[in-house]
Subunit: 350 residues, 2 copies
Amino acid sequence: MQEVLFLNDVKGAVSRLLEGAGYNRTFVLCDDNTAREVLPLVQCEALDGAHVITIAAGDAHKTLDSLAHVWSELGAHGATRRSLLINLGGGVVTDLGGMAASTFKRGIDFINIPTTLLSAVDAAVGGKTGINFNGLKNEIGVFSEAKAVIISTCFLATLPQGEIKSGFAEMLKHGMLESEDEFMRLLDYDLTAADHDQMLALVRTSVQVKQRIVEQDPHEKGLRRALNLGHTVGHAFESFALHRGEPIAHGYAVAWGLVAETVLSHLKRGFPSEHLHRLARHVRDNYGAFHITCDDYQALLNYMHHDKKSVSGEINCSLLRSCGAVETGITVTDDDMRAALDIYRDLMGI
Amino acid sequence: MQEVLFLNDVKGAVSRLLEGAGYNRTFVLCDDNTAREVLPLVQCEALDGAHVITIAAGDAHKTLDSLAHVWSELGAHGATRRSLLINLGGGVVTDLGGMAASTFKRGIDFINIPTTLLSAVDAAVGGKTGINFNGLKNEIGVFSEAKAVIISTCFLATLPQGEIKSGFAEMLKHGMLESEDEFMRLLDYDLTAADHDQMLALVRTSVQVKQRIVEQDPHEKGLRRALNLGHTVGHAFESFALHRGEPIAHGYAVAWGLVAETVLSHLKRGFPSEHLHRLARHVRDNYGAFHITCDDYQALLNYMHHDKKSVSGEINCSLLRSCGAVETGITVTDDDMRAALDIYRDLMGI
């Protein structure tokens, strides 16, 4: 079982994890940003002599070239099967570093220290690793769990507000999958407060929701698709925005996708209207609206039909009967989706 | 559990495995040679419409470039998570194809059909996949088991005698790990006979020896190192031969390494002298001798100290007390190794 530590004493956690673990060499993977902003915050005796590997920041560098660079650095600096790689960064670093560690000499241990809210609640836990390839996101990767994940909110101060909101959208998703109580607790949280301790408690619950689902279905054969809630429409929004030259952050796309798919949940599974409206208001207030017109529907539908997780070309969603009651693998017709997008636009006031 | 089929009706086996399995697309990976020589022998209705991917033959092409080529071909021809890759070839094809399948979209099913004796008894079973990287063999890879392995001796007729002997050396190793009876049965087999049925029975036992060990230790933390018998010295011979510009086949290196390590087993663990002499005679008669002088010892020792499986720079061997009784992780001093190489030269008549 993967060890997930929730705490704000990251140095202490690193020291405890390394002590007596018998690693003969420790490596730290950063990107340009985390090497500069975050590495100094975790530098401690246990990391003296660790070799730091740096890749360029951003999803555009989540490539085979970066992966080969990490492999080369590991090899050139004497990594063996008893060495450890610590991934210190956002989702690009934990995904790519996890892949590098899992394939170097057929697998060495790695520890994830997510430095963004999004990677803390999403990428760093659950065993998905990977890189983009031939223009496709996470086209190449393996399922492989980190030996440990250290989740802290003390790095959040280094992040712009938009990054916090991006991660919070995934937390909303987890909250809706969990229970009405958890959903309400999130809606009541003041996103502008920057209360690290309260946030850490919310993050802990959020990660535990994901962990419970992943444990039951590590290789995404069934239940894990619940985590796709909001992402069928979200990914379509993301691709559409990219295509029209106005890219949007993943978390924002998820927030808007979550509204549209909750509309679908209401239409097709009787999800309570009152909760739908509370969600829509929260998203509109905090994320604004993603602007689309009915002229854009066909393009969006095309993206949904070609989603990586679509097996037969049908549009597939995970939908909620209520908070805490999810159904996966529901086929949605084009007409249903158009109706949902109409209502999404109403709710968003566009 | 991995399904391993031993039979000479390969078409029938492929048809049965694919029937009702629900794969939406089938791919076959070959190298230049197997595409020409072996693919026509297995072509059947179940493979109509399969897309054939070809890589250049030989260990020199077990590279990241070839791997990326396979990924690209899979992507370009519509592979999804429900697609299947069939690896038809020797160890390079099954290792690289296994790696490609295990990492494409985080893993699709693959079936191995080994076409050389060496890959049948070694590479195709046991879940090791990989590629060479930065000049190091199998530096990058994952542990990932084929959905099924179809083992047949009907392709052996396409192979030169040297290839058969190369595979047979690994069978000798398995026989010695198994029991005195199995070891004797192999020594009694006439390598020039080309009796496919008798060979299939021997291969079946050999693969089962490996399977039993791998099941107990899939990720090579302990017992699996037993399979390294003969390889500490064998790899050193291989690297040394390569360095002096006279490369030797892996199986031949294993046969010679097996003699040297059986000498060590005799010296350090009391392995019966009579069996050592029978092995040495068999190897000398069938493989000739690998010529070294005492001036070469230091170079050979250097290779052994830098073996991938050496953790602390010490020379590590798996040694036998007798056939069927192995001990792993035994540290061998330079003096022990020099003494063993002296006796190896005596036994080989050089």
